[in-house]
């Protein structure tokens, strides 16, 4: 997600996002509402059209979305088999995560046919740069920031999908950092 990459840079520690045809949700460990209110960054800056120029390729390559699309490609090609609950293990079933395969392939054979296929799938299905550019131009200067006291009814469907698309960035890393700090505090208090 281009947005979460920007949020990551703004130290908002995003943890995940969900997008549907109607809504977009991002959650993180930082207080996003407070950041927008303080203008670091402003929502307008966040949705600025120049995000399309932002190292798009680099972002895509490391994104979880692409890994997910690679999983589908790997399934179709017969590289891995899908596990079904209750089905006997055949022994042929792979016990290697397609994420690991993806990382290794990307480093050692970036022009592999499965990576090409993944890229094509992603470019068609997940990303339409021209439309995205139009949309960003259209909404420019028209974004209102509203902090709500409670969950709004229209946001409920998308909140149910939370957890779908995790981001493995600074947010996750700060989980480990906090877990380390807690231990040091416990040790410091003579526990």
């Amino acid at each position: 997600m281009l947005l979460t990459r920007r949020l990551e840079r703004a130290r908002a520690k995003p943890l995940g996002f969900v997008a549907s045809d109607y809504a977009l949700a991002v959650w993180g460990l930082g207080d996003l509402g407070a950041l927008f209110a303080a203008g670091t960054p402003t929502l307008d800056a966040l949705f600025d059209e120049d995000m399309l120029g932002d190292d798009l390729e680099a972002w895509l390559a490391e994104s979880h979305l692409l890994k997910r699309s690679f999983r589908a490609t790997a399934l179709i090609s017969g590289l891995v088999e899908k596990r079904h609950p209750g089905k006997e293990k055949t022994g042929r079933q792979v016990t290697v995560s397609t994420d690991l395969v993806y990382d290794v392939l990307r480093r050692h054979q970036p022009d592999h046919i499965l990576l090409k296929a993944t890229w094509q799938d992603a470019a068609r299905g997940l990303l339409d740069i021209a439309r995205l550019g139009d949309m960003l131009a259209r909404i420019k200067g028209r974004i209102r920031h509203q902090q709500l006291e409670r969950v709004s009814p229209l946001s409920v469907p998308i909140l149910l999908d939370i957890g779908k698309e995790p981001i493995h960035g600074e947010g996750r890393e700060s989980v480990l950092m906090d877990a380390e700090r807690l231990l040091e505090e416990a040790a410091g208090s003579g526990e």
């Binding site: 690991l100 395969v101 990382d103 290794v104 480990l176 906090d178 877990a179």
Partner: protein
């Protein structure tokens, strides 16, 4: 080893310092254990040629895992210039592993073994027989400086020494309010330290899995999770499956 510290900062990674049996130890974010005093570098579960092993059984995984694992092992050896490297078993994914190595990988591995004072292959369940012509020594288990090296953990480690083992590919699921992270980890208590799997295709098993039942005691339990460029000693209270005091 001072140099190693400088080199590491150059590469932007930070190891986690701790003590094991009175010796200074460093857990590297790549999954290697470094003991500067005896000059030891320890890795576990390299699972070299795992990609090839799957390919033989009709599942053509890309074969670059061996090269990827060797890249990291060579880098760690360059940083620390250890007198001795110990591989704690499952170094090869199966018995065909060694013969299946491609020429490049074989030469690299031979060079690494030759350049290291002692290179120890501890045998594991995947590789009960030692590599034939890569050099190095093969052992089932080995005792050095009050440390006992073996592949699978024992249920009752001999008193008086600390067991260094691998086998289970430990991973920590760290839960904080609002978020959790799952990472390969070192897990230890007052008598044992288990290393994470080093191999590129090896994966991890959460400490909450029944395979870990009864292995670690709450006494002196610690868990060091591998971050992207740092190893973190995390609070066991936040780790799923960590032993609890009764």
């Amino acid at each position: 080893m001072q140099q190693a510290e400088a080199k590491r900062q150059e590469e932007g990674t930070t190891a986690c310092a701790f003590q094991i049996g009175g010796l200074d130890a460093f857990a590297e974010p790549c999954g290697a254990l470094v003991l500067p005093k005896p000059g030891l570098l320890v890795v576990s579960d390299l699972h070299l040629e795992k990609g090839a092993a799957f390919a033989r059984r009709g599942q053509p995984l890309p074969p670059y895992d061996t090269a990827a694992t060797l890249d990291r092992l060579e880098a760690a050896a360059r940083r620390h210039q250890p007198k001795m490297i110990v591989a704690l078993g499952d170094s090869f994914h199966d018995l065909h592993g060694e013969s299946g190595l491609d020429t490049d990988d074989r030469e690299r591995l031979k060079r690494l073994v030759a350049a290291t004072g002692r290179f120890i292959w501890i045998s594991g369940n995947h590789d009960p027989e030692a590599p034939q012509d890569l050099g190095g020594e093969a052992h089932e288990t080995l005792e050095i400086d009050g440390l006992s090296f073996r592949h699978e953990p024992t249920h009752d480690p001999a008193p008086g020494s600390i067991e260094l083992c691998g086998h289970l590919h430990p991973a920590a699921v760290v839960r904080m309010p609002g978020a959790s992270a799952r990472r390969p980890c070192f897990a230890g208590d007052h008598r044992r330290l288990m290393l994470p799997a080093y191999g590129a295709y090896a994966g991890g098993l959460s400490l909450s899995h029944p395979a870990f039942d009864g292995l670690f005691s709450a006494r002196g339990f610690y868990c060091i999770a591998l971050g992207r460029s740092r190893a973190y000693r995390v609070d066991p209270r936040l780790v799923a499956g960590a032993p609890r005091r009764r």
